[in-house]
């Protein structure tokens, strides 16, 4: 059930320059799925539109959501000023999630789509996956890694993350739930270059890819997945107004005719944000 509500900030700290880590107490956490997002609304009435922010983590009791975001403008700058006890306006939880894109209900591990024949434990056990994150696309990989630990062995969850420099935020959290490989643009940590370079340097392989990050990275992953003939599920981003599928602001070109407007335009907020890479035309 989607809901707009006023929640309470539990804590917030800056974990890298301009990158903030905020926990919010909200019952929306009970339904949150890895890859979903929430819309956060600034209180300044000159900035009306929601800021879509991915869910980084859900606490053990499912009573709080963790959002890790970068200051990108006026709205996120306002959020960065929130302290424990402050109110925060959110709408959630939104979008389909990574495992839902595969056809699995991430809350139960059961099948949710006709073309899927096996439940999550059978699908993932004994297999290898890549969880690839670039920059501010890294946060949603944490909850996904945590979730996949329920269905597969930790050392088969290969988390490949790309940073600009040695500010490797969320690294320790990710290491708890998978085997982490790092790439940095300046070469200060791990492989010098990007996540694709890290795959090559470490000689990694996988049966499935989950990814979130900048468009050039997603394009490279789409090409890699096609070459290796493995499915890749990528999380897309676009400016949004409603977040619930009504305004048709955040569309992506699709290979097949979309079910809403029948014009090869899927709505990122509701049909996504996670899509199988081969289904979307990302250039």
């Amino acid at each position: 059930m989607k809901q707009k509500q006023t929640a309470v900030v539990a804590s917030q700290k800056e974990i890298a320059p301009q990158i903030f880590d905020m926990w919010i107490n909200t019952e929306l956490a009970a339904e949150a799925r890895p890859g979903q997002f929430v819309c956060v609304y600034p209180k300044d009435r000159s900035t009306l539109l929601p800021r879509p922010i991915s869910i980084c983590e859900v606490n053990g009791d499912k009573t709080a959501l963790r959002l890790v975001y970068r200051i990108a403008g006026q709205g996120t700058a306002e959020f960065a000023g929130y302290r424990a006890g402050d109110s925060i306006a959110i709408l959630g939880t939104l979008g389909n999630g990574f495992l839902e894109a595969v056809g699995i209900d991430s809350l139960t591990g059961s099948i949710v789509r006709d073309d899927v024949e096996i439940t999550a434990d059978k699908m993932f056990s004994g297999k290898q996956v890549f969880l690839m994150g670039g920059g501010i696309g890294i946060p949603p990989m944490l909850q996904l890694a945590k979730k996949l630990n329920q269905f597969m062995e930790k050392d088969r969850i290969q988390i490949i993350v790309g940073y600009r420099d040695a500010q490797t935020f969320l690294r320790e959290d990710l290491e708890r739930y998978g085997k982490v490989f790092i790439a940095t643009e300046d070469g200060s940590v791990g492989t010098k270059g990007n996540v694709m370079n890290a795959i090559a340097e470490n000689g990694l392989s996988a049966d499935k890819i989950f990814a979130c990050g900048p468009m050039p990275m997603l394009r490279a992953i789409k090409a890699y997945a096609q070459e290796k003939e493995i499915p890749a599920y990528i999380s897309l981003e676009e400016h949004m107004a409603c977040g619930v599928g009504a305004c048709l602001g955040c569309v992506v070109k699709t290979r097949e005719i979309d079910h809403h407007s029948h014009v090869h335009n899927a709505r990122i907020c509701t049909d996504g944000p996670v899509f199988e890479a081969k289904e979307v035309e990302i250039g």
Binding site: R45, L49, M240, A241, V244, V252
Partner: protein, 301 residues
Amino acid sequence: MNMQTTIAGIPFKNPVMTASGTFGSGMEYGEFVDLNQLGAVVTKGVANVPWPGNPTPRVAEVYGGMLNAIGLQNPGIDVFLERDIPFLKQYDTKIIVNVCGKTVEDYVDVVEKLGEEPAVAMLEINVSCPNVKEGAIAFGQKADALYHITQELKKHAKQPIIMKLSPNVTDITEMAKAAEAAGADALSLINTITGMKIDIHRRKFAIANKTGGMSGPAIKPIAVRMVYQAAHAVKIPIIGMGGIANAEDAIEFILAGASAVSVGAMNFVNPYTTIEVIKGIEAYMERYHVENLTDLIGAVE
């Protein structure tokens, strides 16, 4: 206390509607709002065939509002009649379908198909979308073109028609009068105001279409002024809209001369806005001992 309002002989349980393009066909917001409570659902524009709309980015934030250039993406009338109308028919609310097109023939095609659907109470003719290159806006910015298309559509429409006016004109009263003279049953205004935003860091337009239609609270004073001017220029009823965020805003439009109001961009900010506006108008009527909502229409002194 009577919240009812009447437009072209059609009674609405209350004056609060949804502005076209901000509410889909109600499916998405049905999760937040009891659609039965609304005076009417005004649907997203529908054309004779599916329209893919514009490239992204399609939306951008501006001070106190937003720009959009969706480009009227829609599934076309056939899918709409099969899917959206049956959905809306489940609810006790009036259905107003927004009709768009590139040529007069396109509009006629849609209007005729909708004529077969008695559940549709009224048609709102979109001659004012600023984001579609061909047709559309041209009909809404020249009084003679507006007169012509209104007259043509009146020949084919089974339901009363509302002409949705563009604010991007020199004199709104000239347009209002042209639509009335051609037989329009009602007017709705304002559509969005053409605007532009430039990302100075990337030196690029904030939306791919370069220009977009501005909506949101920042445009409200312009909208109230135009509703007031139009209401004094014509006798047909007016549905007022433009930046309505709460009941106070809605009441301003009604006092300026609107028989009904639509909530648009603010649905995106607060999905419960329509219901809050209805409740707030009730509270206002109670506070000032207003027996009939219709007593408020044009009641500014």
